[in-house]
Each structure stands twice: as C-alpha cells, then as structure tokens.
Amino acid sequence: MGYFEGFGVTFRKWGEGVTTREYRGGRTNKDGDISVKDEKAPKPERTHGRHVLNRYEDGMEKCIGCELCAGVCPAKCIYVRGADNPAEDPKSPGERYGYVYEINYLRCIHCDLCVEACPTEAITETKLFEFSFTNRSDAIYTKEELLVGDDGKPQNLPWEDWRPGDDENTSGWMRATSPSGKAAYEGQVAWGGELGYGVREPELGQAQEDPPEVPVEIETDDHGGHH
C-alpha cells in the first residue's frame, strides 16, 4: 500500500492551519486601501534593507563625507563627495559634510559593510526590503531620498512598501557591538543620539547577565603591525 502513504501525510497535515503569508505587494483597491490580509512576514532584528542617512537630535546631518562607505563597498554602489561646511549654515557638526550621496540599488547587495565602516553612524539600514523599480533612474537614490525627514523618519517613496516597524532599530543592533568586537563592551552606550529615536538602548546580552568586575581598559595598539 505504498501508493497512498503520500496522501496520508497530506491528510495528517490538513488540520494544522494555513501557513501562507498573504503578502500582496501593497496592492491597493479602488479606494486606495491596502487589503487587511496584506501583511508582511515578521523580520529578524538585524535585517538589512534600504539605507537611511541619519541626523543628530538637533537636526544636523551625521554624514561627514569621508567616503569610507564608498571605499569599503564591495559592489561599488555608493558615490560620495564631501564638501566644506558653509560657515553661516552648516549641514553637519564639524568641517565637512556629504555634498553628494548616491546609492545604486541595482548594485547594492545589503552587506552592511558601509554601516560598519561609518565613523559617525550616519548610514544605517532599515528593515524595508519590499521595493521594486520600473526604470533605472528610480533605483539610484540621491541624498534627498536617503536622508531622514525632519521627524527623523525615513522618506516613503512611491515604489516602496513601508509598514510600521520597518524603520525601527535601523542597524541598531549592529552598533550595539563595540567597534573592536570585544564582548566586554557590550551593554555600554558608545553611540550618539538620533533624530526621532533618541539614544538607543544597548543590546541586552552578556553584560546584563555577567557584568565585568573590573572597569574596562581600552587597549591602544601602539606597537602596531601584525602579530
């Protein structure tokens, strides 16, 4: 009776409910409403999606135009040009700011290396991954499109499908790890505030369960070179 064993599996699974996620690509009806069934699947906390350029809590841009992100990008999809801050109307605290900032989303592989490289946490990645283009010029995001608005929220472009929660913790968990990768730094806030979100809480991890008894000393690698 080997013929019907396959049917047996099917019938056993019958009552286990529906697994299908009714995501419909943000399709709207005649009135412009999204269907109630049109829900995204829950995403991991560290999802890499569309980038944003963040601002400080006073509205200043975080990007300083250092081009480290463009240098580290394996797909060479970022184009940055820095310029001197205008003295009467500075865009960012410090000397320089990102004058041109473009990301080509038909090249970007969302590896988050730009986020790792950024010294000021200016560029982070949101959890938005539901977007598609009908021509190539839409796919090249300019600085105006990447920069967060005055409320600190990312801009919703017509070819993107934002849902609540997509903009939260934009690569924030990545930043919770110390730059040197030492676990002892975990739980210490070492990053600046962000417009619209404030100073983010550190990741609850090792430091919470097992606090270091001695204060952490920052080792400076003065002798340099390889070991």
Binding site: T19, T20, R24, P74, R107, C108
Partner: protein
C-alpha cells in the same frame, strides 16, 4: 470610429472606444494580469528565492502565477533570476524571442539588473542590454516578498497598459556608444 493605420505606432489609439470596447479592453488586461505564467529562468541563487515564492509560505498561486512553464511558448513573464553570463546571453535572448506576445520581463536581483557586484568580463552588466525589462527587483537576492512586490508592480503595469503596444521608454537610460568610428551613437537600452 477611426481607423488604425499603423498598429505598431498607434496601438488602439485610432479607435474611439465605446462602452463595449472600453470594458472589453479592461477585461482583457485584467485577465492578462491575473494569469501571467512565468517562464523558469533561474540562473543562480535568486532562483532559490523564486522557488520559495512558489512554495506554500508565499504561494504565488494566489496571483495566478503558480505554473512555472519550462516551455517559453506557454509563458508570459520571464523572471530572470540570477547573473547572466556572456555565454548565457544568446540563450536568454532566444528564450525571450520564443515567448508569445504579450510578454514581460522581471529582472530579479542586482546581478540580473546591473551585474551587481560582479563587475567583470564574464557577466552581462544588466539584462536590459539584451531584453526589454519591465520591472527591476533589487536585493542580493531579493526575498520572496521583494519578488511579490515586483510582481505586483508588473501586474499594475499590465492592468494600466495598452493591449497592443509595449510600454515605451525602455530601461530609461541612454548610453553613449563611443566606438571611435565616426559620430557618437546614442543607444537607448531595453527597447525593442
């Protein structure tokens, strides 16, 4: 009622629609969008995500697209999933040419759309150099939900488009071809 002199250039524009033909046009484009069968053109890791979209969790059958056709003559949408090597390019073009009109192309993933991180001699830098692309799905690879978003974009285009003409504009980029022989040629990518 006017006459259509050149169907390639004018489409159905020469006709003055009445109630019947106008509704008929809507019905045809509605049915085209609701049963656009994809041709399997999985070339790399994007194909895994394309298969995941066909699976039960994302269930592409909701959109009338569950029949992935191995024969291009039975397919309407070609989902180019993965990087296209220079040797694969003529095959891809042949499969596209074998498809029946009306036909559409989704360029899935950054490798198909622009070469992605493989900016080298072996990979075609954008499949729109070979076939006209309607929708680009970004990501490396795009998840099933990104593909579903691209499919929704395509369906919206099919429903709002014309019956007998392709959407003009192509990929939206113009390349200056500098071959050093005579004058510079402007080539518009992704057009028929």
């Amino acid at each position: 009622m006017g006459l259509i002199e050149n169907i390639q250039d004018d489409g159905l524009g020469g006709l003055e629609h009445n109630v019947v033909t106008g509704q008929l046009e809507k019905l045809v484009s509605w049915s085209r969008a609701r049963s656009s069968w994809p041709a399997t053109f999985g070339l790399a890791c994007c194909a895994i995500e394309m298969m995941a979209t066909g699976g039960s969790h994302y269930d592409i059958a909701r959109l009338g697209m569950e029949v992935f056709r191995a024969s291009p003559r039975q397919a309407d949408v070609m989902i180019v999933a993965g990087r296209v090597s220079q040797k694969m390019a003529p095959v891809l073009r042949q499969v596209y040419d074998q498809m029946m009109e009306p036909k559409w192309v989704i360029s899935m993933g950054v490798c198909a759309s622009s070469g992605g991180m493989f900016n080298n001699y072996a990979i075609v830098q954008g499949v729109d150099q070979i076939v006209p692309v309607d929708v680009y799905a970004p990501g490396c690879p795009p998840g099933p939900q990104t593909l579903l978003h691209a499919i929704n974009t395509l369906h919206t285009q099919i429903e709002s488009g014309e019956l007998l003409r392709r959407r003009q504009g192509g990929a939206g980029i113009v390349v200056e071809q500098l071959d050093g022989q005579g004058e510079t040629q402007l080539v518009r990518l992704g057009q028929k």
